[in-house]
């Protein structure tokens, strides 16, 4: 039985759904399985004033800063990783005040997303005691109301406008399958108002019915999907491909024209230009 409606749209149309000023929970971690084709398409379309919400962004937050598309970030740890170190355009954007950072521990960001996913205004989070982060962010504590004696930090709800996930496979109807670790993708798709997906390829609806336990996000949570082979480039998408370190190295060069050349070399651009 078909559900009758395909959720597959071109990448340009997927990106067009994201208005200026939107907050985006981006899936993956550092250089691994991030929805990078969509991030680049937002830049091509000239999007402004975006917010990234992600425990461990890197290339994605850096290129958005480089393009001037970002004004805010809620993040745990930001780096290019590999041997590339700090994310240079992100770093400069924070140091010069061009973006406003809300610094999190990865788990405090997750707690905020959990609050949204669970339908409650805040969520306890372990640890944090003794850190300067709560004073910075105005986080409050509660005493165990059941008399256990523990004092716990509570993190306010974080509701992203969008979760954008890079998947291995989707059905026409928008069911999402991810191989390997799901990072924080699951909680992102449960906390965001809308869920967009970029996938390597389409798999049959029957294959999803055969192994439903492999489905990370069911179709009814998903608004739209684009199929972009190699869309996580220059990052990895296990088990299809690994990090393209030469491409990351080329991206890191601080010179005129590098960003343009990088965007033009991306798989989705080459596909569009039939290179």
């Amino acid at each position: 039985m078909s559900l009758g409606t395909s959720k597959i749209v071109p990448l340009e149309e997927l990106a067009a759904r994201v208005a200026d000023g939107s907050s985006l929970a981006l899936g993956g971690s550092f250089l691994h399985r991030g929805p990078f084709a969509l991030v680049r398409e937002l830049i091509r379309q000239g999007r402004k004033d975006l917010e990234v919400i992600k425990q461990s962004p890197g290339y994605d937050i850096d290129i958005l800063c480089r393009a001037g598309a970002l004004s805010r970030a809620r993040a745990g740890i930001v780096a290019m990783e590999g041997n590339f170190g700090l994310a240079p355009w992100y770093r400069r954007a924070v140091e010069t005040g061009r973006i406003r950072l809300e610094e999190h521990a990865c788990a405090s960001l997750t707690a905020g997303l959990r609050a949204a996913a669970f339908g409650v205004p805040f969520m306890p989070c372990g640890g944090i005691h003794g850190s300067d982060l709560p004073a910075l962010n105005g986080w409050k504590t509660v005493e165990d109301p059941y008399g256990g004696g523990e004092t716990v930090y509570v993190i306010p709800r974080i509701t992203p406008d969008f979760a954008v996930i890079q998947a291995n496979e989707v059905s026409e109807e928008g069911d999402v399958r991810v191989y390997g670790t799901s990072h924080w993708d699951r909680i992102m798709t449960r906390s965001a108002k809308r869920v967009l997906v970029v996938a390597e390829r389409v798999a049959s609806s029957a294959s999803f019915r055969d192994q439903p336990e492999l489905t990370l996000v069911p179709h009814f949570l998903v608004e739209a999907v684009s199929i972009v082979p190699n869309g996580a480039w220059p990052g990895s998408c296990w088990p299809h491909y690994e990090v393209d370190y030469l491409a990351v190295e080329a991206y890191m060069e601080d010179a005129a024209g590098v960003l343009r050349a990088h965007l033009d070399a991306a798989p989705e651009a080459r596909e569009a230009a039939h290179v």
Binding site: V78, E95, G130, S182, W184
Partner: protein, 243 residues
């Protein structure tokens, strides 16, 4: 004459914190702890559970990746133990040992990974909180490493307290510190350095009762590291100098 390089010193001494039958974790941006965990698996005649940020549980990676969060680190894993899982494991008190990065460490073993200078007008914006603020106070033991041993990395006063709770161990190219009564104390020093040199290059005061030169790598440790980095690529990339 020392059998240590700065690289082998850090990786091997991180591995020496791994204990039998425990759960040990390595995370993002952590190539040296990743190598330490893989070294411990090869070199030591005891079982422990190695989990990592790629979701791997006692994986058998087909190669050692440049990125310590590479999905290769979940190859051969019998389970994907993803990010939310290992954080929750830690906060409920079941993470025995985790390796956490730091830019600055103080004498209490607290860390700064946030900024150099004022947080609101930083001279350098660093990667940020990451696991630290939640894992350092809740893990049974946490260990960090610095590839530079200096008064700007081992400091009396942190520019920002990203994570409190106190490191159980700190490894640098010339020294191994462990925690005693809530403060870092020197456990051993690189045989090519000296106690005086460690003191001169450390920004916080520390006790050194019982400290001595670090024992040389045992053959199993040296062989394991050679097998993990056969062409010396990781050692070259890490570019660790004693001075």
């Amino acid at each position: 004459m020392s059998e240590w390089s700065g690289f082998s010193y850090i990786v091997t001494n991180l591995a020496r914190f791994v204990r039998p039958n425990e759960i040990t974790f390595s995370g993002v941006n952590s190539a040296l702890p990743m190598l330490a965990c893989l070294l411990a698996k090869r070199a030591y005649p005891f079982a422990f559970t190695y989990i990592n940020v790629a979701g791997g549980v006692d994986p058998s990676p087909s190669k050692v990746p440049i990125s310590s969060s590479d999905p290769v680190l979940a190859e051969g894993s019998r389970s994907i133990f993803a990010n939310e899982d290992f954080y929750d494991l830690c906060t409920r008190g079941q993470m025995d040992l985790c390796f956490l990065g730091a830019a600055q460490v103080d004498g209490l073993g607290r860390t700064n990974v946030s900024c150099i200078g004022d947080w609101h007008a930083p001279k350098v914006r660093l990667p940020g909180g990451g696991g630290g603020a939640v894992m350092l106070p809740t893990a049974r033991r946490a260990v960090t490493w610095r590839t530079e041993h200096s008064r700007r990395t081992l400091v009396e006063t942190l520019d920002f307290v990203t994570a409190s709770g106190g490191m159980h161990g700190v490894v640098t190219p010339i020294a191994v510190f462990t925690k005693r009564d809530g403060r870092l104390v020197l456990a051993s020093w690189h045989p090519a350095a000296s106690l005086d040199e460690v003191r001169a290059r450390t920004g916080f005061a520390f006790e050194a009762d019982g400290a001595e030169p670090t024992t040389a790598p045992i053959p199993a440790e040296a062989e394991a590291l050679a097998a993990l980095d056969p062409d010396g690529q990781f050692e070259r990339d890490a570019a660790i100098r004693l001075r």
